[in-house]
Amino acid sequence: MNKVVANADEAIKDIFDGAILMLGGFGLCGIPENCIAALVRKGVKHLTCISNNAGVDDFGIGLMLKNRQVKKMISSYVGENAEFERQLLSGELEVELIPQGTLATRCLAAGYGMPAIFTPAGVGTEVAEGKEIRNFNGKDYLLEYAFEADFAIVKAWKGDTHGNLIYKDTARNFNPLMAMAGKITIAEVEHLVPAGELDPNCIHTPGIYVHRIFQGEKYEKRIEQRTVRKKMN
């Protein structure tokens, strides 16, 4: 059951042009930094990326955008990236914006083996255009389909050789959902330990969902909005 691969380049080596990828993270928090760097090195193109955000100009998915590797983004919020805006306005990049809870739950549905969900988010808005609406107990809901992704790429805090994963704080976000949803799931972790060392009660993603795992390195963990208060003496 050993899922360990040597590094990011080996983990992503079969990702092909035109693949549909899920990338975990919220803003720059909990993003798979090592795999993104490896994807940029590999230069794989025409990717569809399902990710809540699109990084910033010089970090996260922004690096792949700058390298013209992304054909389409499926996201809920993309406001932090000038290169993204440029490619969108010039028509180089396709963008599908969907509500954040819908994005999360479409990943969840894929990981739970359910083809679709019903959600009230977007009823009466342009998000609902062309979608089936069902009324339950007097309230309208949109039919939204589970995502299909060739690869899910996630970042965890700790992982073991069986692929069990534990996330830290709000770096959890979309990671466990996407981990469940990929045909192939790749996990990079800050601390890789032998199976048996993690408390089974504390596992967030059971190893069955994870196909490849490796110990990441040189995490930059950039902060988007550094907000602090002053210490009072």
Binding site: E80, P99, Q100, K230
Partner: protein
């Protein structure tokens, strides 16, 4: 005098009740956290996966793994919990969050809200706003009464793409506190100190309902 953004937040904080779970949007709503009455038990939900959001960290104690939905570094309070984004919107969809406060570009007299897109300009996306407004039980909008051109943001119908329909219950602006009438219309409840009913009338394009004397806000 029109209220400052801080005073709008202060007025909204008076809607909080002991035991409330509250989601605060980006902008003026975030400021509401600064005015939670002392001794009142209110737990803040951040939709990126946290219940029990605390204040900003002290300088040097920022943790890149601990941010709020506005991507700001934050802390947790004792008794907080982390969860994934599906559970976060699960608790929102299931109506567990008592109060949602968010900003808006337009609100209609029927309680429709528009706050995510200006066609032809940059589209940043709806984030979690559509999920929140579709399910929250009590939605307060915090915004200025007029846009930078001086045009009313309280309209008969929204002109911008909608975020949600018939969902807003209360609007707190720099000029007034207004409730949405179930059959349509902004019911004027309170005036900002020194702001006349006539001024509010002039700056409200949607149907304004005025019954009796309108008291000034207590700030």
């Amino acid at each position: 005098m029109a209220l400052t953004k801080e005073q709008i937040a202060q007025r909204i904080a008076r809607e909080l009740k002991d035991g409330y779970y509250v989601n605060l949007g980006i902008g003026i709503p975030t400021l509401v956290a600064n005015y939670i009455p002392e001794g009142m038990d209110v737990i803040l939900q951040s939709e990126n996966g946290l219940l029990g959001m605390g204040p900003f960290p002290f300088e040097g104690e920022e943790d890149p793994d601990l941010i709020n939905a506005g991507k700001q570094t934050i802390t947790t309070i004792p008794g907080s919990s982390f969860f994934d984004s599906a559970m976060s919107f699960g608790m929102i969809r299931a109506g567990k969050v008592d109060l949602t406060v968010l900003g808006a570009m337009e609100v209609s007299e029927k309680g429709d809200i528009a706050n995510w897109k200006i066609p032809g300009k940059m589209v940043k996306g709806m984030g979690g706003a559509m999920d929140l407004v579709a399910s929250a039980r009590y939605i307060i909008v915090a915004m200025l009464h007029t846009n930078p051109k001086g045009e009313s943001k309280l309209l008969p119908e929204c002109t911008l793409p909608l975020t949600g329909v018939r969902c807003v219950k209360k609007v707190v602006t720099d000029l007034a506190v207004l409730d949405i009438h179930p059959d349509g219309g902004f019911i004027l409840r309170e005036r900002a100190p020194g702001v006349s009913t006539d001024e509010i009338k002039a700056k409200t394009a949607g149907k304004l309902i005025i019954e009796g004397d309108i008291p000034e806000m207590e700030i």
